[in-house]
Symmetry: C2
Subunit: 285 residues, 2 copies
C-alpha cells in the first residue's frame, strides 16, 4: 500500500494519530521536501516519529517515482507531505503511477494552507481561484496571475496568493557547469509579494488600464499558519510592503471587496495600527 500522509502545518505533532500509526509501521518513509516546510526540520520529525525519513526532492519524485513505489505492492510505503497531499500541490502523478503498477493507495488528510487560511476570519467559501506569486528576476516578471485576482475581485471573491519557495536551486553558473551545488533556500515574504503586486498596479496604470487592486485594497498577510508563533496582519496592500511578519512561510490574501460584518470584526483583531508603516516601529504591531 502507498500511504500519502499530510503532516499539517506546524510542527511534528500536527500529524494525525492515524498518520503517525501508519508512519511507524511502514517499511520506508519518504518526506516530500520541495513544496512547503514545517517549523521543524527532518531530524525533529525523525525523533518524534521514531523513524528514519528519506528526503524526496522534486527530481526524485518526478523522475524516480518507481524507486519510491518499489515493493509497495507487497509492503507499506509512506509518502509524507507538509499540509495535505492534495493541498497546494497535488501529488496526482505519484498516485497515477501507483495505480498503473497495481499498487493500492490511501490518503490520510490534514490541514493545508488552502483551508487553514480561514483562521483570519475571512469565509473560506468566498475564496475564488488561488494564485501563485513567483520571485521576479531581471528578465522574467510574469504578471499574468493578476488577471485571476481581477476576476475574483470582480466576482466579490477573495484571492489566496501562495508565495514562491526556491529550494535546491542552482545558480546559472553551477547549472551550466553541471555542478550539483545548491543555493540557500528562499521563501517569498508578504513584503516582497506586496511590492511586486504594487509594481504590477503601477504598470497597469501606465498602460492606461484601471487596476483591479490599488494601494488601498484590504489584504491579509499570514505567517507560519498553524504554528504557535503564527502571525496575521490585516491592512492595505501598501501596508503589506512593510509589515513585519517574521520568518517563513508567508501567504497573502487579497480580499474580494465587500466583507461580511463577521469577517470585518475578525480582521479587526489583526489590523495593523494606523501609523506603523510610517514609524517603522515593530513595537506598534
Amino acid at each position: 500500500m502507498l500511504y500519502m500522509i499530510g503532516l499539517g502545518l506546524g510542527d511534528a505533532k500536527d500529524i494525525t494519530v492515524k498518520g503517525l500509526e501508519v508512519v511507524r509501521r511502514c517499511s520506508r518513509v519518504y518526506l516530500e521536501a520541495y513544496t512547503s516546510i514545517l517549523t521543524v526540520g527532518k531530524e525533529v520529525l525523525e525523533e518524534f516519529y521514531g523513524r528514519k525519513l528519506i528526503l524526496a526532492d522534486r527530481e526524485e519524485v518526478e523522475q524516480e517515482a518507481d524507486n519510491i513505489l518499489k515493493d509497495a505492492d507487497i509492503g507499506d510505503v509512506a509518502f509524507l507531505v507538509v499540509g495535505d497531499p492534495f493541498g497546494a500541490t497535488t501529488h496526482s502523478d505519484l498516485i497515477l503511477r501507483a495505480t498503473k503498477l497495481g499498487i493500492p493507495y490511501r490518503v490520510i488528510h490534514n490541514a493545508s494552507i488552502m483551508n487553514a487560511v480561514g483562521c483570519c476570519g475571512l469565509q473560506l467559501y468566498k475564496f475564488g481561484e488561488t494564485v501563485s506569486i513567483v520571485f521576479w528576476t531581471d528578465t522574467w516578471r510574469p504578471e499574468s496571475f493578476f488577471d485571476k485576482v481581477k476576476k475574483n475581485r470582480l466576482n466579490g471573491m477573495h484571492t489566496l496568493c501562495l508565495l514562491d519557495i526556491k529550494v535546491k536551486e542552482q545558480s546559472l553558473e553551477n547549472l551550466i557547469k553541471g555542478r550539483k551545488i545548491y543555493e540557500p533556500p528562499r521563501y517569498m515574504s508578504v513584503n516582497q509579494a506586496a511590492q511586486q503586486l504594487l509594481e504590477i498596479v503601477q504598470n497597469q496604470r501606465m498602460r492606461g488600464e484601471e487596476p483591479a487592486v490599488t494601494e488601498e485594497t484590504l489584504c491579509v498577510g499570514l505567517a507560519r499558519v498553524g504554528a504557535e508563533d503564527q502571525k496575521i496582519a490585516a491592512g492595505t496592500l501598501q501596508q503589506m510592503c512593510t509589515v513585519d511578519l517574521g520568518g517563513p512561510l508567508h501567504s497573502l490574501i487579497i480580499t474580494g471587496g465587500s466583507l461580511h460584518p463577521l469577517e470585518m470584526e475578525m480582521l479587526r483583531l489583526f489590523s495593523i495600527p494606523e501609523d506603523s508603516s510610517e514609524s517603522q516601529s515593530t513595537d506598534a504591531l
Copy 2:
C-alpha cells in the same frame, strides 16, 4: 485558553497528536454537533480520547456561548469541530466572544472537506466560490446559489457544493406546540442534490435562459471523504442522480469546463461505467 480543535473527517484517530494532547488536559471538552459528522459517534470519541464530551448544538453555541467560555480565562476549554474549525462553517462568533472577554484562544487545524476534496484529482486552486445546496420543501425551493455555479463555470472554476444537513429539526407541529421533540437527522445525498440541480436546469430552459450546467456536465460525487470506505464517482450530472455512494456525508463537485490532462486522468480512476445508470446495477460500479 479556548482551544478550537479540528477533528478531521474520518474517525476518532483523525485528530492530530497535538489536538489529542490538548483534549486530554482540558477541564471541559465540547463537541460541536450540528454542522458535520464523523463516521463514529460521541461514545467512540469519548473512549478514544479518554474524556467525557459535552454535546454543543447550534442553540447552545449561539445563545449560551458564555457557558462554554466559563473559566476559560483561568483554565483550558476545548471546542471540537468535525473537519477544521474554520472549514465550511466558521466559528468566528465564539472566538470574537472569547476575545471580548479577554480569553486567549488557539486553533489546532485539521483537514476539512474544503481541502480534502482534492483527493478526487481536481486541482484545489481551480475551485471558485463554494455553494450550499439545501433541502427543498414544497414551498421553499431556492435557486439563487446557481448564479454562483454559473459564475464559476464562466471563469473555468470548479464548484464545491456542500449538501444540506438537518440535525435536531422540529416538525412544524412540534415547533408550534413548543415540544422539544426532534426529527431524525437527514443528510442530503448526491442523488438528491443532482435531482434538484436538474430541476433548476429545466426551469431555466422553460424561462428561455441558457443554463450554465446541463445533464451532460461533468460532476464528481464524493462520500465519506477521509474514511476508509470513502467513495468517489465521476460522471455526468444525469449519472449523479442514480449513482450509489452509500451513507453520509456526501459532497458534489460541478467541474469548471476545461480540465488539465492530469485532472482528467485522475477522474478516470473514478468514472462511472457507461451503462450503469441504465442498468441500475450497483455491481457495475
